[in-house]
């Protein structure tokens, strides 16, 4: 386990050092993160000019949702997205050898390959929004909510990561799949609002087909005290299942790629 | 006297390059005050090309060849001086001018990537306002000359580099340009393909009396096609004339090949006459300064029982290299 952490840390550090060369990117990225936040908050403000509650969610609760949306989006864009894109490019160009010839688990290496450090601006902004929301929610958020939030967030991260890995693994067989990741990006936009307000077909899609709900709404629910234990159990179960399934699928794909018979 | 097809007078292209050190402090400083220096990519070139001539541009990387070609085709705006092609100022990019020239850059695509070349050709036909008959005639000729038969029906991305280059050239010539600018057209191609393209350019020039300006790294291109060479170095014209004259002027050495009968003396003795390039049983190759060539030849003939003796110019590549390694004068 320590080995895994050490490898992950090394790669992330290298990625960060690489990006630090381009300091201007920090300001540009921060600016873009602000723009994204403007859209979320602006939309929120306009909505609450006309109503006091959206599908049962209060303004402060929705603010927390926006914060979680920013944070999770930032997490995805710092590591998961760039690494998976890089992996698919490596498969297409045939330059995946580094992962196969190093004495470490290929899945780990591939998953932390690229680290866009300037995207942490997204995460910091999300945290700032979250803090404001927490202040406004006041005593409603205690240790129980915080731990539910943390747990749900971990599950969400695991689910999103596994989902991306499964999509990316398809590139072992289909060469032009880069666009498939665009599906997630488009659907993630829906995470700005609580998934409960969407019609059923969309809700199911956003929960089980493209796991936006588990990434954003469920952790936010945990934070503001709307998460019940059955739902949390569902999240935990799905996270564990997807981690296993994606791992299995990955090993299958890797064996096919390196020519071993399955 | 006929108007030259291409006319350059003291043409110059100067780039201002901004310097900036690394670091955030320097970046902020550079917002207020920028250090810069000028790069003279082309520094006062003048020459004329008559209609129907093929001229070769020689020069190392960064000499200014491609920059000159881009100014001649209108892609770059000159900093100073005159440039005139077919009576037009290229950088004005007038339609009539563009319809009469073509620029082919090696490894750069103008054909659309995902569809067969013939579809891009058809698009060009319409853009250059060619009648169906003109187009078909020219296409048939180009297909025959370049051996393109099935290639033009395959998507361009499925072609090899050589096949793609042939299609690019065909596409560039469909409208029968009167002036053809070729920038490294054979780069990256195998020897057979290079030869085929060389033959084609020569044929095109003969048939349509097109003016051709060609830059190349490969001496073989220039030797095969160009009677006249222009040598550019550091943005300046070093030489403008026939290829033989170039060798004559810049070759500093001559090569003497001596054939010897059996029972030859050892090579160390030959070192007295000149630099020994090669020594084989029965033959010695020497390099001597041009001025000494006659005297050394006389000495060799007098001192040694020689079977045969030849005096050669050094290979052209060597001559060119000598030209380029000359300091700025």
């Amino acid at each position: 386990m320590r080995q895994i952490l050490r490898i992950a840390y090394t790669f992330l550090r290298l990625g960060a050092l690489n990006e630090l060369e381009y300091r201007a990117n920090f300001f540009i990225q921060s600016f873009q993160a602000l723009l994204g936040l403007l859209v979320s908050l602006g939309g929120l403000q306009i909505v609450f000019n006309h109503t006091a509650d959206l599908g049962g969610w209060q303004p402060a609760e929705l603010l927390a949702l926006v914060g979680v949306y920013q944070i999770v989006g930032g997490l995805i864009n710092t590591v998961i997205n760039p690494s998976m894109q890089r992996f698919m490019e490596d498969v297409r160009k045939g330059t995946l050898d580094f992962a196969l010839t190093k004495p470490a688990d290929a899945q780990l290496l591939v998953s932390v390959r690229e680290f866009r450090i300037w995207r942490v601006a997204d995460i910091f902004l999300g945290i700032a929004v979250l803090v404001v929301a927490l202040v406004r929610l006041g005593e409603r958020v205690g240790w129980q909510q915080a731990s539910l939030f943390g747990l749900a967030l971990l599950c969400g991260a695991a689910i999103v990561y596994s989902f991306w890995l499964i999509l990316a693994t398809f590139s072992f067989w289909f060469v032009r799949v880069e666009n498939i990741l665009v599906i997630f990006q488009s659907m993630y936009q829906a995470g700005r609002w609580p998934v409960g307000i969407y019609p059923q077909w969309l809700r199911i899609t956003l929960t089980f087909i493209v796991p936006v709900a588990f990434a954003v709404t469920v952790p936010a629910e945990g934070l503001v005290g709307r998460l019940d234990l059955p739902a949390l159990a569902q999240a935990l179960g799905l996270a564990a299942a997807l981690l296993l399934v994606s791992r299995f699928f990955w090993r299958f794909g890797l064996r096919a790629y390196s020519g071993a018979s399955a | 006297m006929t108007e030259p097809a291409v006319h350059l007078d003291n043409l110059a292209k100067v780039y201002r390059v901004y310097e900036r050190e690394a670091g955030l402090g320097a970046a902020v400083r550079s917002l207020v005050r920028r250090k810069s220096h000028d790069v003279r990519a082309v520094d006062g070139i003048s020459f004329d090309v008559a209609p129907g001539e093929i001229v070769g541009f020689l020069g190392p990387n960064g000499a200014g060849k491609t920059t000159t070609l881009k100014m001649l085709s209108g892609l770059l705006h000159p900093t100073s001086g005159e440039v005139c092609v077919l009576g037009y100022e290229p950088y004005r990019r007038q339609r009539e001018f563009l319809r009469n020239i073509a620029l082919v850059m090696g490894q750069r695509n103008q054909l659309l990537w995902d569809i067969p070349a013939v579809d891009s050709f058809e698009l060009n036909r319409v853009i250059y306002r060619l009648s169906r008959q003109q187009y078909q005639e020219m296409l048939d000729e180009l297909v025959a000359l370049l051996e393109l038969e099935e290639l033009i029906y395959k998507p361009v991305r499925n072609l090899s580099l050589g096949e793609r280059m042939k299609c690019e050239i065909a596409g560039a010539l469909l409208h029968r340009p009167r002036v053809l600018f070729l920038d490294e057209p054979t780069i990256g191609l195998d020897v057979t393909m290079q030869r085929r393209i060389r033959r084609f350019v020569g044929e095109y020039n003969r048939r349509y009396e097109a003016t051709v300006l060609l830059t190349s790294h490969y001496m073989a291109d220039v030797v095969a096609l160009c009677e006249r060479v222009v040598v550019i170095h550091h943005g300046r014209l070093l030489f403008d004339g026939a290829l033989d004259a170039l060798v004559e002027r810049f070759a500093a050495h001559k090569t003497i090949v001596v054939d010897l009968p059996d029972g030859v003396r050892n090579g160390r003795a030959f070192a007295a006459y000149g630099e020994v390039l090669e020594e084989r049983p029965g033959q010695v190759t020497l390099r001597v300064p041009k001025a000494n060539a006659a005297r050394v030849t006389g000495q060799l003939l007098a001192d040694i029982d020689v079977l045969d003796l030849t005096i050669q110019d050094p290979p052209i590549e060597e001559v060119i290299e000598t030209v380029f390694t000359q300091p700025d004068s």
Binding site: A24, I28, Q32, L35, L38, G42, G43, I46, V47, N49, H50, T51, D53, L54, G55, R176, N179, I180, V182, I183, S186, M187, Q189, A190, W193, I197, Y198, P199, L202 | Y15, K70, S73, G74, L75, L76, H77, Y91, R93, R95, L98, R99, I101, A102, L103, M105, R108, N109, Q110, L112, D114, I115, D119, S120, E122, L123, N124, R125, V126, I127, Y128
Partner: protein, 264 residues
């Protein structure tokens, strides 16, 4: 010129067909975004007694479904294309041709949208069946919609094309483009119908060109404009079109000079 457009159109169609899978994936986002706002505002309307700011639930459905189609018909992507062209040196071959590159770009639009309409229209129909919008526009409004949407396309295309010229000066166009898109989101009536914006933002929206490219044709089609407002809108479209054309020519010439100064 017509022959040239036909040739460009045919060629572009052939090229776009090669990328149809990617196109369909991108269309997912096109369809989803209006649906998200549709649902959000419908929820608000229901909570507030059935309507908000003059829009009922059915009204919001009509607005956003129309918005989806109009947005797709009038948008342009060439600001990304020019960044690519300048970076990869693909602009020089275009400049050597005796035809202005803008014509090929317009033909690209026509070709792309001919193909994608095959997906967008059925999607609109499906959404209509599910969300039950109410369309009640007088005939003159529907007829006036035709010139309005053509002008809207020209306005949005030329603005986007002018923005694309930024590629001549910098490779960092993402922040610039995003600013443009965010402004469009708010002031073209995408995040919310313009009537629902707070008064100061509505004022800004009237001063900017965005509403004439999107919100105006949509409102016209839905019959939400008086004849007087329709004519004023048409005039506004024409004025902004003229302004954009002037700016475009200036920027194109400056951009070309810069490109030919710094290396083609």
């Amino acid at each position: 010129m017509r022959a040239i457009y036909q040739a460009f159109y045919r060629t572009s169609l052939a090229v776009q067909m090669q990328y149809r899978v990617a196109a369909i994936i991108w269309l997912l986002g096109t369809v989803l975004q209006p649906v998200i706002f549709l649902v959000v505002w419908s929820t608000v309307a229901r909570a507030e007694g059935g309507s908000v700011g003059g829009y009922t639930v059915a009204g919001f459905a009509a607005y956003y479904i129309t918005m989806m189609v109009v947005d797709h018909l009038t948008f342009d992507w060439h600001m990304w294309e020019y960044d690519y062209r300048v970076r990869e040196g693909l602009l020089s071959p275009l400049l050597l041709k005796p035809v202005h590159p803008i014509h090929g770009d317009i033909a690209d639009n026509l070709a792309y949208k001919s193909l994608t309409m095959l997906v967008v229209i059925p999607a609109a129909i499906l959404l209509t069946l599910f969300f039950r919008p109410s369309f009640e526009a007088p005939l003159w409004a529907v007829l006036a919609f035709v010139p309005a949407i053509i002008l809207a396309f020209l306005l949005r295309f030329l603005s986007a094309w002018t923005l694309a010229m930024a590629s001549f000066w910098t490779t960092r166009i993402q922040a610039l483009n995003q600013t443009f898109f965010v402004a469009e989101l708010f002031f073209a009536g995408q995040i919310a119908p313009l009537d629902l914006l707070p008064a100061p933002l509505q004022l800004v929206a009237n001063l900017l060109p965005f509403r004439w490219g999107l919100a105006y044709p949509v409102e016209l089609f839905l019959g939400r404009l008086t004849p007087r407002e329709a004519i004023t809108g048409l005039a506004a479209q024409l004025i902004w079109l003229a302004i954009t054309l002037v700016i475009l020519r200036l920027v194109w010439r400056a951009g070309l000079r810069r490109y030919s100064a710094f290396g083609a």
